[in-house]
Amino acid sequence: MTVDLDAAALDPDAVDLSDREFWVRPPAERHRVFDLLRRERPFAFFEEPVIPMLEPGPGYHAVTRYADLDAISSQPSIFCSGKGAVSIIDIPADLHEFYGSLISMDDPRHAKIRRIVSKTFTPRMLERLVGSVREIVDDVLATARRTAAEGDGTIDVVADIAAPIPLRVICDLMGVPDEDRAMVLAMSNIVLSGGDPELIENRDDPLAAFLEAGMTLAGIMERLAAERLERPREDLTTALVTTEVDGERLSSQEIASFFILLLVAGNETTRNAISQGVLALSEHPEQRARWMADPSLDRTAVEEIVRWTSPITWMRRTATQDGELNGHRYREGDKFLLVYAAANRDLEVFADPHVFDLGRDPNPHVGFGAHGPHFCLGAHLARREIAVTFRALFDQLPDLEVAGEPDRLRSSFVNGLKRLPGRLTGPR
């Protein structure tokens, strides 16, 4: 892309959120564009990105103001998720089997299934998990230390720290055996690759790759589900296969798609919050020093990292009727992208929105979603993982330095890093 972003920042007509190259630009540049849209075109319309072998849809509106975004999110009967929440195109029928989970479902079905799983994610259930999260983090950091010591002192913050922590936590929660975990990581990378050619071998046919990843994950789940039906254990998979909703068990398709949702949502989001949190702290050493010295900042610091990084950039809603919202007229079928990353920098809500302030309070960010029934199920788990990870990083790897430029994922949906060069300088 040759568009000069400074010029684009003055000219909203030059902005195209469907251009993949936009999404690998540094965050500061993307936020300049969001600021412009929020100010001048709060419901900016874009043509849909072109996806090989699929009919292009009618386009979408990017919602960048906090108030508009929250209004849409909190009226799920008018702005539904069932046409697809995680893709701009409507979900093709053959992918729906694997990806048509809770997140792309509306009430009443959504509420019933959500209640089954929400009991596994309550603050008290997670309190019991904290010890095991701490063990996992300690083990991962010790391994990273060894990797650096045995090599030239460098590590990849993503592969050596940010990826293994949530992977192990979520796989423990679900009861996924060790031997399947590398496959789970690889497949969830494909699911959330946004078609990034590095992660999808056949770039002409990303749909085939998504389908294959879905089938592989569903296969792992089917095997696990059968094992748990025979020998129940204390894990989420057992809860999923044995619980009834209105006298009805979840179908194997529902279980598989939910499993895929959890693996993917539980892995990629927390991973990117951790890796970009490390990056943000390295860019703001005074904030790092402040948090390191004061564990009572954990609560607000974690919220600020989620606001700042907004690991999931958007979710989609679709109008189920004609109407008007804050002066914007819409028609049934209109698609809206709730751009959380943009709303999280809305000056109307956040003082100095482009300042990274680990003590920010209140911080009503929408990094876990805005008001509405689809608010992140794993928010408490993510908060725990992030808080435990950073405290352990301060204690055990205080010498961690970012040693190069991050390599960004080419995706509009996940604000991700593929690699972040790091260095352990050793005790000084």
Binding site: S74, R114, R115, S118, T122, P123, M125, G369, F375, A379
Partner: protein
């Protein structure tokens, strides 16, 4: 006296309220929200107001 009211149709048991006001709210093992102090003490009221504000499904209201 301030009283907490839960709309059971809206509540999805997210537990956001429990994070902010653990003395007043608890999501039980069945995923159902229990209000431990339906008429919270004055000391708890600010936290309860935060919890009402933070509820992702707007299932909580405070009645004065």
């Amino acid at each position: 006296m301030t009283r907490v009211v839960v709309d059971r149709e809206l509540c999805v048991g997210s537990g956001s309220c429990e994070m902010l006001a653990p003395d007043v709210f608890e999501v039980d093992d069945e995923g159902v929200l229990a209000v431990l102090e339906p008429e919270p003490w004055d000391d708890d009221v600010p936290a309860v107001r935060d919890a009402v504000q933070a509820c992702p499904t707007r299932a909580l209201t405070l009645v004065d």
